[in-house]
Amino acid sequence: MSDIEQFVSGLLSTSHDAPDQLLQHLCCIQNHYSHIPEEAIQLLSGHLGMPRVEIISIIYFYAFLEMRARGDFDIRFSDNITDRMLGSLSLLDSMCAKLGVKLGEPRPDGRVCVDMTSCAGICDQGPSLLVNGIAVSRLNEDRIHKMVGLIEAGIPIENWPKKFFAIKDNIQRRDKLLDNVITRGSAIEAFAVKGGEALLESIEKSGLRGRGGAGFKTASKWRFCRDASGKAHYVVCNADEGEPGTFKDRILLNSYANVVFEGMTICAGIIGAKQGFVYLRGEYLYLRPALEKLLQERREARLLGKNILGRKGFDFDIDIHMGAGAYICGEESALIESLEGKRGIPRNRPPYPVTRGYKNQPTVVNNVETFVAAARIAVFGSDWFRHAGTEQSSGTKLLSISGDCQRPGIYEYPYGVSIRQILEDCGAEDTQAVQVSGAAGFTIPPQEFYRTIAFEDVPTGGSFMIFNQQRDLLEMVKNFNGFFCHESCGFCTPCRIGGTLMKDLLNKVIVGHATAYDLNEMKMIGDLMKKTAHCGLGVTAPNPVLDTMDKFPGIYSRRLLNRSYEPAFDLDAALERSRHITGRDDEAAHIRYER
């Protein structure tokens, strides 16, 4: 039996050999072999009764799965704009030079590959990278130098200095949610005492709305799901925290996981679910062992499993499913597809997951923070919760603050707090703009700093990135646009093609080659994407361009050529090869553009 055969049959024997486990198997194989060997694909295909091509198409969909071996050390630099602002690109260059590798190309000796990845959720302690899937924070030249030494010496990451992997919670401001500790099991007991309907009414009265950003009323979602008929009901915790600049779930899963599980369990009690899932983004792999341990402790304490707290028929358990580098899987129907082991392509809606979700059965999908809030409401009641926030946005919100400020980190605020107040608290000065709610969100200029964080004003999933006056905002726009192009699933025309067209036009602006005509084109493409894309990713992807064009027109106009039209074809750039061949670089070998 070959090594691969042994490994794969080990995987298949420890878990169910259903096709919905495929992505989980692939993640394990990737972690072990730094790629998915052909032999493993054949074995999985045979055992799961799935065509080989289906497995290949899944591998090519998820950024963390590879067909070609990455090497002993698979390194991916987090490439959010906040990482770049902290100097990630020069550190990346430095590491590539020291190791003698090209970006994205495995070194021929099979030792190492250096690449980039979307925001790894460590913006407050960046720049960061993943090595063999595990996050390293606070990169600097010294740390890069040491890592290169360890890599060249072939020291496994288990033996690397622990401080490389230290990631602090970094909570800077606490309020209701982070302050009021509940004892383990108390929310479930509250459910047992009050009963499902009373608890649902309490959550309804609290006004709790989904914390992922969309703000759907949690009680309504749970009620719809409970009342939908199906063979089984499911609870899913969306821990695919992929929105650039968001890292609050990292803290909740690190230090408040018991409350998350508690929230999921009361939801299960209310809707009648026996099975729950935490869909954990691949970047948070390092959190998994502790989460598994907690789940086991909860089973032993009869807070999970059969007859929870001795109540006959109250059966519920939670499995952790890993993501593999796909932002789109944060969209609830794509997440469900991914849970089923497939490519994360968003479904057509309706039907919504509350009626037809996981395995086409009624499913609640909620954000990590929503489950924490629900568990707190179960214990402390709706008035306690309503007391904070505004009429339409009750309670508090966790913000992940990063970028140009003295104290980045996690800030919990009652809804209704002004952006100005937040900037003051985190020590931001000379602020040019704030990007609220991530790449898909809103660019807020200083004249709008009076606005507030609330569903009715500036809604957010929690990302809050600050840019001071020295920053070139177009760099931010370019970074976000590149992010959306990379993360588009490719299903619908406007997102797949519009995103790339936008990228090309943005580059034309950046190199000083665009005209007012091109800006109109970008507006037109952005408008089309907003109106016709299949899912939220495509609808929000043009936001950074459209928002900055509207609120910061200067960053575009000062780069424009003063003419009505300029072809996409760059004559001067096209001459570069000829200049190289003839060894000329004089004035006559260039075509200069008049500004």
Partner: protein
């Protein structure tokens, strides 16, 4: 007493039944809504977005939108046609569509929908992707330059032919059709020339071998009448006039 349920499409009253999409009801009533990834014989997909309509101020895809009582659907205002035209232009620049040199010209849904929506130029900068041709199969040739990723071949092969021949691999701009064979070639799959999947392509990406210009250009389906009158390939096949080899043709 039950009355017939209806909605309005460009001011006309369209009856519908429970479970109908706007597209289903419109096509049944003889109203044409442009579409590419949708084929009324099969399950809707909603990827090409060409069938976008305006319903009470909101843009929706009619092939996946459940019809409901009292909807006011705009299928033909300049604003909607403009959106469709732009989407079509995007599809044209994403691949390499050289209509004059394509066997499917005149019988091509993509080309016909583009004409009927007044698309006169590709407008955007061409991507000029490097895509392959797979001519390995004895009866069928694949020109991936012309693929618009509608997924019809994938869906029909899987759902109707009950085979696993194709899949869509990759994501974003690198999404592409792949074959289920270790060699990655069409010839090593279980695909056969009589498969339904071979005949559903709305472009010239899947063509029969050994046949060329059986119907002269100029006399083909969409050469004679616009697609808005003739309808899509589903109807075309049912009239048994399609230009692909089909021994059951008269």
């Amino acid at each position: 007493m039950s009355t017939e349920k209806t909605f309005r499409l460009d001011g006309k009253t369209i009856p519908f039944e429970d479970g109908d999409t706007v597209m289903d009801a419109a096509l049944r009533a003889g109203e044409y809504i442009p579409h590419l990834c949708h084929n009324p014989d099969y399950e809707p997909h909603g990827s090409c977005r060409i069938c976008v309509v305006d319903v009470n101020g909101k843009h929706q895809c009619s092939c996946t939108l459940p019809a409901s009582e009292g909807m006011d659907v705009d299928n033909s205002s300049e604003a909607i046609v403009d959106k469709r035209r732009t989407l079509l232009q995007m599809l044209f620049v994403e691949g390499n569509h050289t209509c004059p040199a394509c066997e499917k010209s005149g019988a091509c849904q993509l080309q016909a929908v583009a004409y009927s929506n007044g698309m006169l130029s590709p407008h955007f900068t061409h991507f000029f992707p490097r895509r392959s041709i797979d001519a390995s199969h004895p009866d069928i040739v694949f020109y991936f330059n012309r693929c618009i990723l509608c997924g019809l071949c994938v869906r029909v092969s899987h759902d109707v032919d009950k085979k696993s021949v194709f899949s869509i691999s990759g994501r974003g701009r690198s999404a592409r059709i792949v074959f289920n064979s270790p060699s990655g070639k069409a010839v090593d799959t279980e695909l056969s020339a009589t498969d339904k999947a071979v005949s559903v392509c709305p472009t010239g990406a899947i063509l029969p071998k050994h046949l060329g210009y059986e119907i002269p250009v100029g006399q083909r389906l969409y050469d004679c009448q616009p697609i808005s009158v003739v309808g899509d390939t589903a109807k075309y096949h049912s009239t048994k006039k399609h230009f692909m080899r089909d021994d059951s043709d008269e």
